[in-house]
Amino acid sequence: MNRNRIWSIARWEYFQKVRSKGFIISLVLTPLIVVASSVLPMLLADQGPDATLTVGVIDHASVGFLALRDKIAGTERLPDGEPTYLLANYMANGESPDSAAARADRDVLSEKIEGVVVITDSAGVPRATYRSANPSNFRVISSFEKALSSLVVERRLAEAGIDTALYNRISADVDITPVKLSKRGEETTAGFIGTFFSAYAGCFLLMFLVLTTGQSLVRSLVEEKSNRIMELLVGSCTPQELMWGKLIGLSGLGFTQLVVWVVLGLGALIAFAMPPGMEASLMGIYAALPLMMIYIVLGYIFYAAVFIGVGALVTNEQEAQVATSVLVMLLAVPIFFAMGVVQYPDATYVRVLSYIPLFTPSLMMMRAVTKMPAPWEIASTMVLMVAATSFVVWAAGRIFRTAILLYGKRPGFGEIVRWLRAG
């Protein structure tokens, strides 16, 4: 193999793609989409109501409208000091319960009130229903649950002749602060959300790196075949040189993306104050960073070689679409496991799946930030990954060598196996 030629090819592949509009757009758009789809829902869900909501109350259980109103007003306030909820008593004018309920429902539907809390008595225990056009707003429900529970407890304390102040002194809320221990003795507090986020980060990074460069690789192979550039290329270099040139150029492209995204990400974190939990999760990533880098590099080369092998077989744009989307789905599989991995990183199924090369990088990255796997597991998955990557690069080379000169007809599986066997 001629190194100068490989270098020329790598440079060509890199600069032709790095300057293409598609690449520049995906470079900027991808982080935006990732942020929008992963961080925004989290932030938005944390946000309380931003204006005072009117909620109707129908009290069949004699909890007491005024007591409830005071309770809610005492605990729930908007950031600007205004009360979060304005309560409307639908039983105030001695209406029959049925007509009050009907009136409240009408008001809900005509959007005069956000919803109505109907409190009934079930053998001495108050029960409540929340009727609203949007009953899934768990903020409203949890506010009223808290207030009602507290009222019931106070009433029972009074019935039992216990002083409320005494009760408050006796009862205790115990919060548990998670502290992560690692062999190196560092302690970093990382909540579930933080760990979950950092476990995701590595997998997403790998997935989008592979997705964007893999797609452009397959597309360029299709172009080279359909425009018959291939004939000119293989007249100028060997298929092996062409493949290595592409692999190296492509890795350069991936590395460019990685650097840009990491810089953008850190810049964004510094520019906008970090959301709570983010700092801790970043600490988790720092500790596992060297390991994650190794897995990302191995995973990237592995998948890039898979894309080269598959791309060489593809003969038109439609086939390219199908092939890339199947590969991307495979990459996304470990992300479905993220929730489980973060809670039980040592579960048997996680450990077994870690030895399937398609999933190894993603799963091991998740495990590394959650709970560092045993050294022998790290070593054995890496050895496996290096072996699998070498095999895929070798196989891709064999397929590439023959398939790039096939136009029109896609080879069958048996034929591909024959190429792999051929010396």
Binding site: R5, S20, V234, S236
Partner: protein, 312 residues
Amino acid sequence: MILAEHLHKRYASVHAVNDVTLEARPGEIFGLLGPNGAGKSTTIRMINNIIAPDSGTISYSGRPFSDQIRTRIGYLPEERGLYQKARILETIVYFAMLHGLSERDARTRAAGWLRRFDLAGSERRRVEELSKGNQQKIQIVIALIHDPEYVILDEPASGLDPVNQEILREIVEGLRSDGKTILYSTHQMELAERICNRIALINRGRLVLGGTVDQVRDEHGANSVLVEFQGDGSFLRSLPMVTAADIDSNYAELTLLPGASLNDLLPHLADRIQVSKIERVRPSLKSIFIETVARRGDGSREDLTSSMEARS
């Protein structure tokens, strides 16, 4: 010199190249002729080391193929294309560098070639902005920019207008004077007759004719007749003493049965066409081609003639 001996290549059910031997010498243009699907491109791809022959040997000035040889081959494939989004100069420089030129050297030479093909000033334009003929000029530049010792051109003139065909012919003849070894595959028999020193005719994977153009014409020269006429000459083909015919609207080249004379032919012509000239000639490569291929039973003569005319 390129020497290919006893090349064989089989695909699933086809013996695409069957015992082909050819020798292209320095300072010569070697014409590789044959109908569509005869095995010309397969032969060329084997000589280029793009595909391996099943058996047979190829040597370049006595040495086997090597990476060094690769950089000394200039190849213009029949199926050819360029990166459509890339710029013209960078495309030429890229392929020149793959053939071992330095970037600076490649740029200087590219400028000269672009001037020669009347494309100076379009260095920064994208390939897709060029017409098909102009894209082909870029491909010719790519094949020749590294001053290759072995020049392999597969249908180089197809798609070029007459002016550029003429430029191409001058370039190829210039390469010959420089002592390069040129392998020129084509369907254009008139052109082959004009520029090739020696030819090989391939049909159905086999070599059916070979030698210098003069030799080939002399060997087949016995019984060829040129007729210039007015009227509908299509009946000439079916005359009993005619074995092969290349008929144009007012010109026909006929091959007669051995022993048949002009006198045998004349009575058949007089009452059907207006003859303005009739003479015994050495056959053109085109009529030798048609006769040879037809005699071997490769489809009907009409098919061959029309397929050739469509290509040339």
